[in-house]
């Protein structure tokens, strides 16, 4: 019964109810859209970083931070052990190796990444950025950046000799250009080459070396558990086991910094919306003082009246949050599906902390966070009703009837 009364009360002043709900809804919607854009861009950045230069779990040599030339031996065994940690995940091995790439027209200092072609293609990385030619197939294939292809004046099928250095020994190996990629970031396109893992190992001369063995989860959110399991599995071995955060500290730092700005804004919106709701609510309660007086005099207890007010608050909150969620999802839908095109402002490509950022930012719904915020909005609205409800419960019928609560 209280519920029905509450409903009716809300509907009596449609305009005010509507505007208050709109305040809640718009505030929530904007919060939703912001979270969606943030989540989308962070997820993208992490995924790109993870797929191109790390993993959700990374196994590498201790001391790597100080000397990127350090590698792990027995990479196959490590790969097997890592795979046992998460059987559904993908494990790949990579070698990073600097060297000289020569064609008949000249040579250039390059950084090469040796990847397992079958595995690496699905994880993303350069496969998605290819503009001509094909992905790696045989041990003699190599893929280079567009700028590099221009500098060395080579096309698909041409010979390229890579000379790498490992432990003082210099080894040269013949490749043929299989394909060209273009990321838009000049330092990647002019500097990076991708070769098959087997070729990389051959250049390094045996010992089953790898720069890193990485685990790539389907469900990115499961990484903490995976890291723990991996650390247990590798306990006692002489390698470092890191999460993507440890492996990509700059990405992590950037996200933290960016996120804190977003938090500030969300906090502000919260406060503003709650103040607005409080205002409205109080107002609506106060102007019904006489009416409450009447209710009291016909026997309704002050507590019940207070409860009525609280229920009204809850309803307002509930519908406002629903509206807000729908509006938020609706507004962010195009961003999730087609993304925001930043190529105007970001130029062709930009690398951030070694990871190439996408110029089209896709939103991603962070459902847990969105639910938490919806709940928080609801709670805040409800809380805004508490003081008015309390005030109502202190009404004296006589005074109230005279509209002097």
């Amino acid at each position: 019964m209280l519920l029905r009364m509450a409903f009716r009360n809300l509907f009596r002043n449609k305009r005010r109810t509507l505007i208050t709900m709109t305040a809640i809804a718009v505030g929530m919607a904007l919060i939703n859209v912001t979270i969606t854009i943030q989540h989308g861009s962070y997820t993208d950045l992490i995924n790109r970083g993870v797929s191109s230069i790390a993993g959700h779990v990374v196994v590498r040599s201790p001391g790597f931070l100080d000397d990127p030339e350090l590698r792990v031996t027995d990479s196959a065994a490590h790969a097997k052990r890592l795979a046992s940690v998460a059987p559904d995940a993908v494990v790949q091995r990579r070698i990073m190796l600097g060297g000289l790439l020569s064609s008949t027209s000249g040579s250039a200092a390059v950084q090469s990444v040796a990847v397992e072609p079958e595995i690496s293609r699905d994880i993303g990385s350069m496969y998605d950025e290819m503009v001509s030619g094909d992905w790696l197939e045989t041990d003699r294939d190599i893929i280079i950046g567009a700028r590099l292809a221009e500098t060395l004046d080579v096309k698909e099928g041409d010979k390229l000799v890579f000379m790498g250095q490992s432990g003082g020994e210099m080894t040269s190996r013949l490749f043929r250009l299989k394909g060209v990629f273009k990321t838009g970031a000049a330092d990647v396109d002019g500097f990076m080459v991708v070769m098959p893992f087997a070729a990389g190992q051959e250049i390094l001369g045996g010992n089953d070396l790898a720069t890193m063995v990485t685990l790539h989860l389907d469900d990115a959110a499961a990484w903490p558990a995976a890291v723990d399991a991996a650390q247990t599995a590798f306990d006692g071995t002489d390698v470092d086991v890191l999460s993507w955060k440890g492996a990509l500290p700059d990405v992590d730092a950037f996200i933290t910094a960016d996120r804190s700005i977003g938090q500030g804004m969300l906090f502000a919106l919260f406060i503003i919306v709650s103040m607005g709701v409080f205002n409205t609510f109080l107002m609506s309660v106060l102007e019904r003082t006489r009416e409450f007086g009447v209710l009291q005099s016909i026997g309704m207890k002050p507590n019940q009246i207070a409860k009525l007010v609280l229920v009204e608050g809850a309803l307002l909150g509930f519908f406002g949050v629903c509206m807000g969620s729908l509006l938020g999802v609706g507004l962010s839908y195009p961003i999730v599906v087609s993304g925001l095109d930043f190529s105007e402002s970001m130029g062709e490509g930009m690398s951030n902390a070694g990871v190439v950022m996408s110029t089209i930012v896709y939103g991603a719904w962070d459902i847990p966070r969105m639910v938490v915020f919806a709940f928080a909005c609801f709670v805040v609205t409800f809380l805004a009703a508490i003081w008015p409800a309390w005030k109502v419960s202190r009404l004296e019928p006589v005074k109230a009837l005279r509209n002097q609560g």
């Binding site: 912001t34 406060i271 402002s345 130029g347």
Partner: protein, 406 residues
């Protein structure tokens, strides 16, 4: 008379007015705080990229942009500098000769971006001597001295007063090699310098590279950042820029320019979001105001007040409300800003490297008066828009109807 009426009306419902003002004030204060923080970020980026690295205008050999080859230098640099400094539109100038080199200590060596500069001019331009973390900056005269980025020095294991070898490819094909004394370590915020760079005297670099009286870049600053394009035109006519290409910093590094522009628009977006929501709150309040005074407004109209009068009254009440909010908002925001500027906000441990700039984990904000003005004006605009509809409705009410409302 109107104003005092409007003002008094506001305070008839003290609590409501106070709460509404608080909502708007908090919106303004938070916007100020967020923008202050973001501006701190922006200004650091601008300082490192534009003030230090790019300057406002750069003059180079015509083939230099794009290839940045060692050989694409401007000759007769001393004469050029004299001609340019005579120009009034140039407020400061620095000359740079780039020499990628192998820099080595006793045991380790690494590739580095070394730049030959005129220490006096360079210091006046970038205040680099204030960024020396150990030791001192270069002497005025060429004396085989070098300052290195602190991180580079650490990696090759050298310290102040150590001697380092510098090996470069000379322009005549020879192998330039010299010993330099490290007199200081740098921490400039520019990653390229701190991590892998250093500076030597221009004359020393010219000798190493066998490029007498030459430089890759003449970088200028103009007194007025808004007139860069027009200054570019007048500089191009200067003798110092003969047979060279003159570019603004935005042309030299469009990516940085785009990023800074994007950050600016983000400020605007944040402001709009927060203020719009605050505006809805104001709308709500004004609607309540109008509603509960329907009777009274009806009376006023019956007594002869014109519709425009009612409109004006409501509008003025909104103005008063906004003014109080803005005042309060500026106060709270001012306090927040003060904290952010002076104490800074520690948003992470360690440093953040982004787009070539090193930001300390504790970022200090910056207050931009223009932005403040923007916020204030926008607040008024939004408040007026929010009050507009209720005010209009109030003015259109028929007195008789109004008076029937109780």
């Amino acid at each position: 008379m109107w104003w005092s009426l409007a003002w008094r009306n506001l305070w008839r419902q003290r609590r409501r007015t106070v709460v509404t003002c608080m909502a708007m004030a908090i919106g303004i204060a938070m916007t100020m705080a967020i923008i202050c923080f973001q501006d701190g970020f922006n200004s650091e980026m601008t300082r490192v990229m534009v003030d230090q690295r790019l300057g406002h205008i750069q003059i180079n050999h015509p083939d230099y942009p794009g290839r940045r080859s060692l050989h694409d230098v401007m000759s007769g640099v001393d004469a050029r500098v004299a001609a340019l400094e005579a120009d009034e539109t140039v407020s400061s100038l620095t000359v740079r000769l780039n020499g990628p080199a192998l820099v080595g200590g006793e045991k380790k060596s690494e590739g580095a971006f070394l730049v030959g500069v005129d220490p006096t001019r360079e210091d006046a331009f970038t205040h680099v001597s204030t960024m020396v973390t150990e030791g001192r900056y270069l002497s005025k005269e060429a004396s085989q001295e070098m300052v290195l980025g602190a991180e580079l020095a650490r990696r090759i294991d050298v310290n102040v007063d150590d001697v380092a070898v510098v090996v470069t490819q000379g322009s005549d094909g020879s192998m330039g090699n010299e010993l330099f004394t490290i007199v200081g370590l740098l921490s400039t915020g520019d990653e390229r310098v701190d991590r892998a760079g250093g500076q030597v005297h221009l004359r020393d670099m010219q000798a190493l590279l066998v490029l007498d009286d030459s430089a890759h870049e003449i970088t200028l600053r103009t007194p007025d950042a808004d007139s860069i394009d027009s200054t570019k035109a007048s500089i191009s006519a200067n003798a110092g820029a003969a047979d060279s290409v003159v570019r603004t910093w935005a042309e030299v590094d469009p990516q940085t320019q785009k990023m800074l522009a994007m950050n600016q628009s983000m400020n605007f977006v944040v402001m709009m979001i927060v203020l719009v929501v605050a505006g809805i709150v104001v709308l709500n309040t004004m609607m309540m105001v109008v509603y509960e005074r329907t009777h009274e407004l009806g009376v006023l109209k019956a007594l002869g007040m014109k519709p425009t009068g009612v409109l004006k009254l409501i509008a003025m009440e909104a103005m008063c409300l906004t003014t109080v909010s803005v005042a309060l908002g500026l106060l709270i925001g001012g306090l927040l800003d003060w904290y952010i500027v002076v104490q800074g906000i520690k948003f992470m441990d360690g440093d953040l490297t982004f787009a070539g700039v090193r930001f300390a984990g504790r970022l200090h904000g910056l207050v931009d008066p223009v932005m403040l003005l923007n916020i204030v004006v926008s607040s008024y605009v939004i408040a007026m828009v929010a009050a507009g509809w209720p005010a209009w409705r109030a003015s259109r009410m028929l007195p008789t109807e109004a008076m029937r409302e109780v």
